[in-house]
Symmetry: C2
């Protein structure tokens, strides 16, 4: 357990790693299992040791994908709750079979104040997520749905290491913040252009 956490937290002293390990819990999540529900109080900082977790956001009735948290990464929204006690305005859901380390939030606060390399690491995490989010803004602002769909499928293919994606049109639609019918229509277009094929209930890329 020490080793897996260590691999995700490079640059920290052995003593600190030891302390982090001893205060953290490891939990497994199945695909589609919630890691954090909307409205939950955040009591831990999750770090994905293995697998992938998606974080989505609600506004009115619309839900959309913010980003994925992959191996070695942690969830920025939990950082946002490090120094405040408000409930989560988002939900996090495992996409793959995933193993997470859960660091208790009060300890994280302590480490942040007492260990510059730890706070540096947290800041790096923020930077990464900020860039990801900025990338999403650019995607949404500068590219149309078709282009974003192609990118979405390609990214997913890389993430899941397969060209044959098991994902429903409905799920794509919510991730991209649109409706199922629109995705069906666009998938037909991609099929015509040979960029993707519907194979039964799966999607083949390329």
């Amino acid at each position: 357990m020490n080793n897996v956490i260590k691999a995700c937290l490079p640059g920290l002293s052995p003593e600190l790693l030891q302390e982090i390990s001893s205060h953290s819990a490891i939990r497994e999540f199945k695909p589609k299992e919630y890691v954090i529900h909307q409205g939950d109080m955040i009591r831990f900082l999750p770090i994905v040791i293995e697998g992938s977790v998606k974080v989505c956001c609600d506004e009115d009735t619309i839900q959309f994908l913010l980003y994925h948290v992959n191996s070695g990464e942690s969830c920025i929204f939990s950082y946002a709750h490090m120094f405040s006690d408000s409930p989560a305005e988002f939900y996090a859901m495992a996409e793959l079979e995933s193993r997470l380390a859960l660091l208790p939030i009060d300890k994280v606060r302590e480490w942040f104040h007492n260990h510059p390399p730890f706070s540096h690491m947290i800041l790096k995490g923020y930077q990464k997520h900020y860039e990801d989010l900025l990338h999403s803004v650019k995607q949404i602002t500068c590219y149309n749905l078709e282009e974003r769909l192609i990118k979405y499928l390609q990214d997913k293919a890389v993430l899941e290491k397969t060209q044959l994606l098991k994902v429903s049109h409905q799920e794509i639609a919510s991730d991209l913040g649109t409706s199922r019918e629109v995705i069906s229509r666009l998938m037909k277009k991609l099929e015509t252009n040979g960029q993707a094929t519907q194979v039964g209930r799966k999607i083949k890329i390329g």
Copy 2:
């Protein structure tokens, strides 16, 4: 000079404030003057003492508004360059007559490592900007142009403390990532609904 910086950096020790003051420069910027050009190397962390600076982002040929930096705030993108040496992928431009404190980046790095309250402050800044950006994503994803235009004008009215905005359709268009004609069309619609009026080359809210 010590006092103005102090007001923007609450919670820091007098010694640190003194050191920050002694290493920082103060500069004035006129409206539309560039604070940072796209491609610049970032050598300082700017903190807006007075006024307002807008930060915009380029992707392909499209430019769009990321956020405003107002009194007491600093620019997250400069944080992003705190631990790396890559040129700016954005530009920052004064919107109002503004006074900025420029903290040299190498000193900022040092303070970040040696002063937990300073790193805490930086993290808080990140949190704020992250929330702002997330807010933009929600706006773009969940609301149409008309709603965003109304919000844009209202926000601007609050910022500039006046109901009579001096802003061209072209400028609104680039901030919202669309074209001038579209803004003209929507302005006409707002006028019909009594939400805003074109008064010569200015726009009256309400």
